[in-house]
Subunit: 358 residues, 2 copies
Amino acid sequence: MQTVRVALAERAYPIHIGAGLLERADLLVPLLPQRRVALVTNHTVAPLYLDRIARALDAAGVASVRVVVPDGEAHKDWSTLNKVFDALLENRCDRKTAIVALGGGVIGDLAGFAAATYQRGVPFVQVPTTLLAQVDSSVGGKTAINHPLGKNMIGAFHQPLAVLADMDTLATLPPAELRAGLAEVIKHSAIRDAAFFDWLEANLDALLRLDRNALAYAVKRSVEIKAAVVAVDERETGLRALLNFGHTFGHAIETASGYGNWLHGEAVGAGMVMAGRFSARLGRIPAAAAERLARAVDKLGLPIAPPRIEVPTWLELMGRDKKNVDGRITLILLEELGRAVVAKDAPVRELEAFLASA
Amino acid sequence: MQTVRVALAERAYPIHIGAGLLERADLLVPLLPQRRVALVTNHTVAPLYLDRIARALDAAGVASVRVVVPDGEAHKDWSTLNKVFDALLENRCDRKTAIVALGGGVIGDLAGFAAATYQRGVPFVQVPTTLLAQVDSSVGGKTAINHPLGKNMIGAFHQPLAVLADMDTLATLPPAELRAGLAEVIKHSAIRDAAFFDWLEANLDALLRLDRNALAYAVKRSVEIKAAVVAVDERETGLRALLNFGHTFGHAIETASGYGNWLHGEAVGAGMVMAGRFSARLGRIPAAAAERLARAVDKLGLPIAPPRIEVPTWLELMGRDKKNVDGRITLILLEELGRAVVAKDAPVRELEAFLASA
């Protein structure tokens, strides 16, 4: 097991990465304010892992309330959130009952937002079971649900007590989910670490066949990059926006095509390629660098082009992005492959021309 | 104008109390991160004050998005909250658009929770137009909506940038709302300031006929007491629970009778009398002190007895209170009139007997 710490003063927490962590109740028990937790998961993950973690907690003297919700991004909404609240209230969970998110990014975001707002905030633990959640969404304290007019529009910052990334859970990961997670790994390398991008290019085959050592390294390095960014800018007032590389285009793709029709990672894959190519179009990076990024995304089996979206729809959807201020579109662009910058006030005419040909 | 400061380090903020404050855009403009705000109010308050504040802001160069929702506690729910989110998104409000709550406690709680969670948190200003909101709910950063299984169960701590308590708005206050506000004023005196309770006993008549000087003093002293408690314990881990005096019984009354059938202040009035009498029953205060409190509540024209509720229902509803931990009921009880304490693990048998005769 390896441990990366997120350095956030009184909200600092450990991210444990390793095998067999679902059974390691000893990593959680000292952090819990009460010998009772609410395990929130979905119908896909529950049969695989819910008993395993509940039994380990039970053996350590911690009782579990089990809350199982439907699977999928389409259910990351108020209706599902309310089902979680119903279960917490019916089971008399109080302010010291920790909520444990067992699942992928949707479960982490949803259960995390429940933890941020149930009785104005209760303790929270992340047990991410997808690569995407392990390398990205479980780290940094962002929680949210979707609104029909925009993804992740309603949410809160709520840091977990700990993150347990059990590498064993990746063995059951569907190929599409694996690719989605690797897209975020590529993102982390593209924005902050050229050497890691080189390593990824050389190891994508190993990662795609679930090589344990390669995966563990990719998770650890990704988490280190994200933790370092979050430690500097917990509430996304500056640097943290870099983690949105590919997401401005990606969120627009997801919204335009209806939540759940494009996996988040697919949209981010295509979105990163777009952000790279737009950076090249603006002369920030060589076209060759943008195509290197596109090839890596393509090798993952992810789309490198967006679906057909009309330019006004693009601009309308990108205009709703949370990074925007005063009506100007903010984009994350590359200065080189391995270094991203926040570009406030993206040139609209160039963007329109780019989108028209996308 | 008088100003009380809430001392919360980087989240410190001023509470301005005085006449004509709706027009004092100068108090807000320096605090706003953007020359645009969203004014959230209800159908009752809008015709009275919305134009006045919007025009003053407009004259100071600040544009307003107007969001008007239905009036009443029954609408402090997800459905109304979502209407606020719809309006914010449709008007492209971003992370720097401050939300201004113009109204009573329901609007403050609802708009505050919208501000806490819209795009994971935007700036917030309270302009309370009822006595209840001025002396209580606008101060301290608690925001929430109701859940069918419990009042204020879903919420967040989100401190405002400033509070503007315009005494002029109290002139239009319906008598029932005035009484409800005075109940919280009595609460503040009962838990922390015996001399203030004496003053209130002597000045209830003046307060009930809306005497300006008496009201301004009552608001200022109430806000000082609340601000001092909040400064010590922002997130209600200890001392702040004292502000819940009368509310454990009161919330149960509100839930049992259906939101909106008892005004919050009415329920708190009866709840305080119950908490005082239960304190006397346990021998903590003389019966005469409890009756002095009951007489003050009665003089306000508030109920001093609860509606008919079966004991199991009482216990069920009180058992859901957010103060409770590990299934034990926490109550705020009096040690004397002017000093309250947090009593964890209230004696259940005594409580049952008390409720049976309530």
